[in-house]
């Protein structure tokens, strides 16, 4: 089948620390997901979740310990050569090129490696450099080490597109891009998907992803937390309302305890302000239940409520609710 299928992929890194000591990191603990052909699938998760590891496995750069993965129907382990012919990849956008060669020369080198004739290599390199705007910036002939992070990201994207691949694996492709450029790249990605290309894109910025992804998988600590299209995801997690309230006086643990005795609470955060306390929590309870419980808490604890907002969740909130406040942007 076309697209991408990941089935119970596990990957453990064992790195040596010192002479005897070993550090074992279970980067992927059995990840499964499916990306339909022509779909843009976003892989989201906090730092260290295992996103890059999965991208590298799909790109045949890393061998999984167990499980299977297919790209456009080819097994990433047994048919690695075939997989390589159908993918374009962006890895760490800050490196991956010869520092002393220019962007153009790096791309010609890559195209030659991929089997293009010299003529074709030069033509394609120029085309993709124009596409990502490096030509316009007059950066194509400068050595790579003089590139800004944004220019490097553009070059990475140009490399991924060079062979016109039907499947794109993009690990944080918009890292370091300014707002306008990131927008242009998102537009480019949607256009590519419209042409029928399959895209797997990673990131942590839900807001950015929400605009282009047709399906989303959130992973954390090597496990899939939730997966689905944006509306499914909202439905799955959307039962959670975001409740923000401000209460006079300083916080007492009792407040949350009290609310908890009425409704289930998830991921609560408490922020002491000057003369009041701000409380934010997520709950699967209905709006009415939320309001009722706040009223109850109000009457039993005799507090003054200064502010109360009950919000329908956005995808971003859903992400934060799932992954934890500390990780979000």
């Amino acid at each position: 089948m076309k697209g991408i299928v990941v089935d119970s992929i596990k990957k453990t890194y064992i790195s040596k620390e010192g002479f005897r000591k070993k550090r074992v990191v279970e980067a992927l603990k059995g990840v499964s997901l499916t990306v339909g052909s022509g779909e843009i699938h976003a892989l989201l998760g906090p730092n260290g979740a295992g996103k890059s590891t999965l991208v590298k496995i799909l790109a045949t750069l890393l061998l999984p310990d167990s499980g299977r993965a297919y790209v456009d129907g080819y097994d990433v382990v047994r048919e690695a050569e075939k997989v390589r012919r159908v993918i374009g990849i962006v890895l760490d956008v800050s490196k991956g090129f010869y520092t002393s060669l220019s962007g153009y020369e790096n791309l010609v080198f890559y195209a030659l490696l991929k089997g293009y004739s010299y003529q074709e290599a030069r033509r394609r390199a120029k085309e993709v450099l124009e596409l990502v705007g490096l030509y316009e910036m007059n950066a194509h002939n400068r050595p790579y080490y003089t590139y800004s992070l944004g220019m490097r990201a553009r070059l990475s994207i140009a490399k991924a597109l060079l062979t016109n691949p039907p499947v794109l694996l993009l690990d944080e492709p918009t890292l370091g891009l300014d707002v306008e450029s990131a927008k242009a790249v998102r537009k480019l990605i949607t256009d590519l998907a419209k042409e029928g290309r399959t895209v797997l894109i990673t990131g942590h910025n839900m807001h950015e992803i929400e605009q282009i992804a047709s399906s989303i998988t959130i992973i954390d600590s090597g496990r899939v937390i939730v997966s689905g299209n944006p509306s499914e995801l909202k439905a799955k997690l959307g039962l959670m309302l975001k409740v923000s309230t401000r209460i006079e006086g300083l916080h007492t643990p009792q407040i949350l305890e009290k609310i908890k005795s009425f409704i289930p609470i998830e991921k609560a955060s408490i922020e002491p302000l000057d003369s009041s306390t701000k409380i934010v929590f997520y709950t699967k309870a209905s709006r009415e239940e939320v309001v009722q419980s706040i009223m109850q808490m109000h009457s039993t604890l005799d507090l003054k409520i200064l502010d109360l907002v009950v919000e329908e969740p956005t995808l971003e909130d859903a992400y934060i609710a799932v992954v934890g406040e500390g990780h979000g942007h």
């Binding site: 040596k16 045949t60 750069l61 890393l62 061998l63 390589r84 060669l101 080198f109 890559y110 010299y118």
Partner: protein, 273 residues
Amino acid sequence: MVINILRALTYREIVWFKRFASDYIVSWILPLAFSLGVVFLPATISDINTVVGRMSSMFDYQMDLKTAYMLALSVTGIVNIVAITVNDVIQTIFSEFRFMEVGWMILETTSLTRYGIANAIVRPAIMTPLTTLYLAPILAYLDGLNGLTTFAILEVAFEVTAIALGFYATAIALVLTFYTRISRPWTISNVLAPAILAGAGVYIPVSLVPAVLRLFAYTTPVPESCEIVYLIALRGVPGELIWFMAIASFAMTLYVAVSGLLSKSADIRVRKG
């Protein structure tokens, strides 16, 4: 496909040459000064005839000043290719995988084995004529058409030596990059080249070199290369060239096998993370 890699590497090498042309010019000028020094510096202590006489007895060949200089000059070619091949091959592979992470681009298109083999051939093959080019006009000036013929024959010996060293250095580079945790490979490659050269009998016949250094140098074909270069400089086309080729090919086969095996296991090792 190996041919794709060969083409890509040739392209990269030419671009690098254009960009680093000034480095090459330095690599032409330094050995010139060096070889002049070998002949003429001792002459400032004794006189030039004594120096030439001593070189004659050392090499067991009655030579004049011109031949003595051609000899010293030809040896600088060996100095250049050993230093540049060993250093460049080791440091480039190391930084490709450990610093620049160009390694992913290589692993994305081919295997480490194919890349390693192509790289071991292309880099030395292209760098050798470039780093020894300065010999051509000087040998021509010293000995006319004969000088140019000498240059051409020297180039053959240099190329064979350099490609063998390319594989030798690839094997070392693979070990350093994938099987050790060192982060400054130049500390090793900088010591390696002078050690090989010292042990190979550059400037003094190899029979006069201490055994320990010789032992080390004999892991490479460089001692043989030196001998053949002396013979070429003294006698034009020596019959021993055939033997040298045989020895160098044998060494090369060995290095290809070793670096091939190492690169296979290194390829698996990197892809295992």
